[in-house]
Amino acid sequence: MYSLLFNILVDLLGIFFLFYSFSIIVFYLLTTVLSALEMRDHLRKNKFADYKDIITSPLAPSISIIAPAYNEANTVVQNVKSLLSLHYGKFEVILVNDGSKDDSINKLIENFQLVKTEYAYNESISAKPIKGVYKSENSSYSKLTVVDKENGGKADALNVGINISNNEIIACIDVDCILSSDSLTRMMRPFMEETNRQVIAVGGVIGVANNCDVKDGTVTKYRVPETLLGRFQVIEYFRSFLMGRMAWTRVNGLMLISGAFGFFKRDLVMKVGGYFPKTVGEDMELVVRMRRYMEENKLPYKVGFIPDPLCWTEVPESEQVLSRQRNRWMRGTIETLQLHQKIRLNPEYGIMGMVSYPFWAIFEKMAPIFEILGVIYTIAMIITGDISALYFIGLFILIYFFAIMISSFSILYEEIAYNNYKSSKDLNKLIKTILIEPFVIHPKLMWWGLKGHWDFIKGKGGWGVMIRKGFDKATDKQKVTE
């Protein structure tokens, strides 16, 4: 009896892992092809775009840049100056000091000659109370608004910024990000270009700034980071942005816009109730909720993506910080999928329900679990002697080389499209990284992902019951109160 059950379990698992591996390969190959097509089209379209026009055109949409800051006293002044110097006509910068414990607010007041005002703040989206809205007495800084508020987390700070904002488009960015001077003009193109459907959001690429030279808010000399973890993230960002998101854009299935650099239609963000502060994956959750709103109201829409290098950030190079980040990302993914379980395989939600959601659920959320199960399965097979050396070696070689191939493509994409890492030494370092990544870094990522699952089960950080129950409609977030 036991023998029969064991054999059935072994066979089922074997077929499952084989099918899973096959699906991953098919998906990634499709991603490679779709992203190549999208990149080709993007580069061709770029030849005909005169971005200078946007700066002064009355037809260009106005932008509110919202930058939440928490304990950023060392860099906040320089970062705000950098934001104020962006090349664009109609924009404002809203810096939200999210209850920093350092002297961020004093430094801002001092450097920008800020004065507390009687700003008529209206809490359209509920958020933690604000302590004050500051404007500068110096007309050179008329585009700057600083909001001081009680600490409530990034999403809460962004919601306050959205409440304050007055413009058509909101740009949610991390204050420590380095933005290229033409970042706003380039990000506006998808909003302005579309004719038959509304562009509800546009995402951009985040580059790795570690070890690079930065001058006047732009990376002038690219170098790969010194550490293995840093270099791995360079490749990972190529894979994620230049391949993954480009491919999803091609089929209008993009569900994630990075919280560090995302542009959204303000009116729609207001309609769906802004960011959901009870999840750690607020960036993905907002995009999904906006898309749901459009699908539920049968409105044609698109989520755009610009692969040009316009924004850079310092990535964590210590294992401790990176593990926390990955744990948070995994919890964010689980929470978002949980909140929007209604769209799962639901044809009413189009490509998002039928393709994007299942992809995220199977290949992102469940990946660490399936991988660890695969390892246990393999060990069990070795112990019982039921393993076939042919399968084992064949699959091992297959997956290893496949991983290398995908990473190599992402580097090649970057080389073909932008060629930022010009030094052959840098390229060699990147190639070495992709060779060892599957053995050295990937297991750690899976482990951190598993811990993310475990923390989600324990209910860490999230809003347990609400998240498990999920939103019935896109606008349900507005009913959520503290």
Binding site: Y2, S3, L5, F6, G14, I15, L18, S21, F22, I25, L29, T32, V33, R44, K45, K47, F48, D50, D53, S57, P58, L59, A60, P61, V115, T117, E118, Y119, A120, Y121, N122, S124, K135, E137, N138, S139, R189, M192, E193, E194, T195, I376, Y377, I379, A380, I383, T384, L390, Y391, G394, L395, L398, F401, M405, S408, F409, L412, E415, I416, I457
Partner: protein, 530 residues
Amino acid sequence: MKKGYLRKFLFLIFLFSFFNISFIKGQNDSLSVEKIEEILTFEPSIQGLYYQLEVKTPKSQLGQIDFEEMNFSKSGDFLLSDTLVSYGKALEIKSLLETKYNLDPFLKYFIFDMVSDRESVNAYLSNLIRNEIFIPGIQITQEEMEGELIILGSKVPFKPFYKLRIKLLQDIKVILLLAILILFIFSSVILVLTMIFIKARKKEKEILTKRFKDLTYEPLSNLLFEKSLEEIMEYSKQDLEQFLPTNYLSKPLFKTVLIQEIISLNKNMKGDFKLKLKLIYRKLDLHQFTLSRLQSKRWDEVATGIVEINEMDLTEALPEMEKLVSNKNFYIRSNAVATQLNLSNDKNLTVLARQKYPLSSWQQMKYLRIIKFLSTQNLVKIIYLLESDNVSVRIFGIRLVRYLGRVDRIAKLSEMYPTASLPEKVEILRSFNALNAESELNHVHDALYSDQEELCLIAIQTLGNIGDENSQAFLIQRLGMIQSFALEKAILTSLATLNKDVFLNFVSTSTKASYMKIKDHLLDPILSNV
């Protein structure tokens, strides 16, 4: 805490369940000695197992027993039986010798050619049964027995029972694995080759482009700064070619680079220099190259051709542009319309008015730049745009009224307003606001009471600019009808702009918290001045 331990415990049980199952399976497979004895006795033969009886007889008995009949042969002091395949038969003979002849025969066991003991025989048989090589009760023919796996080490060479080819074709998992491997190798090879090819081609093109740029720089400078317009006019194509590197003009990439350089210089120069550049362009027959681009199947090639036509004022290409203004490709269409607007000198803007596709903001931005330039030379006729069937063209027309300051079209906008769509109404009100159209207050007052918040908001803002005393009353009346903070703020802002005393008087008599908040905001010197 206890819950945590319980989860860990359950996880460990799950983890070890694999090992437990295999352990149980192993126990289940071992056979008892009694069972083995039974199988050996009743099976006529078992592959690889042989038996022999060895008898040591006293000389006195040698003549009494017919050993040859029993197939015994002499070996020294011993008599050995034939090799027997049946354990049962061996036991039978052994019993006969013991009972009838009172001898003490010794039963020898062989596993293949090797002499073994009973324990090894038991282990061997257990292995055969566990691995399903031997199934009790089922006889295997001699042919099938050939090529059997040798488990305990034998001098017989290994020959697998299942041929690899048969195994591969019968196992679905192996087929799948092979399919994936083939797909993977095939796809990756194609993708890698494509990428390498593209990169190599791109790099080569970059090097050549840079080289060609360097090669065109000097000849163009010489022609522009050392030769007069008249001199260039007198030059033939051959004369001009002498300024350029020999034989390069036949290369398409060189032509492309040369055109780009000419266009780039044309954008940055004025007067005679522009004329010289256009003359050089034509005399070198580069315009033919540009026109040939329009026949390309690649949309970006066609669009590049259109841009070049626009920049170099190739008016003879206008009929071609006419065909392309309704192209389904956004970039071809946009550039063709822009070129048509620029080169046709059509003050009626008919190419725009006839557009079937909706105009995006991007296109409008592009056309606005051209139309602004045209309107400095001639008064463009926006009326056709305002009467277009295409709503996005009409909206662009309304915006043009505002951007070009066409006060003469206010009456037309007023006429359009009652039947206009919501986006058109919003744009019309914005135009009234921008052009200070005080005569249109009736429409603005109507819009103030609209259910559409967007329209109402624009109306409020417009009233702040062009409203009269009646407007103040309407604004205060409307304030009492709304709950939206954004509208309240807009109304009080407009009221304060229209008449500060009325505003102050109104807010001083009101106790509503939101009004107080807005009042403080509007009276804050920093917020109102910076």
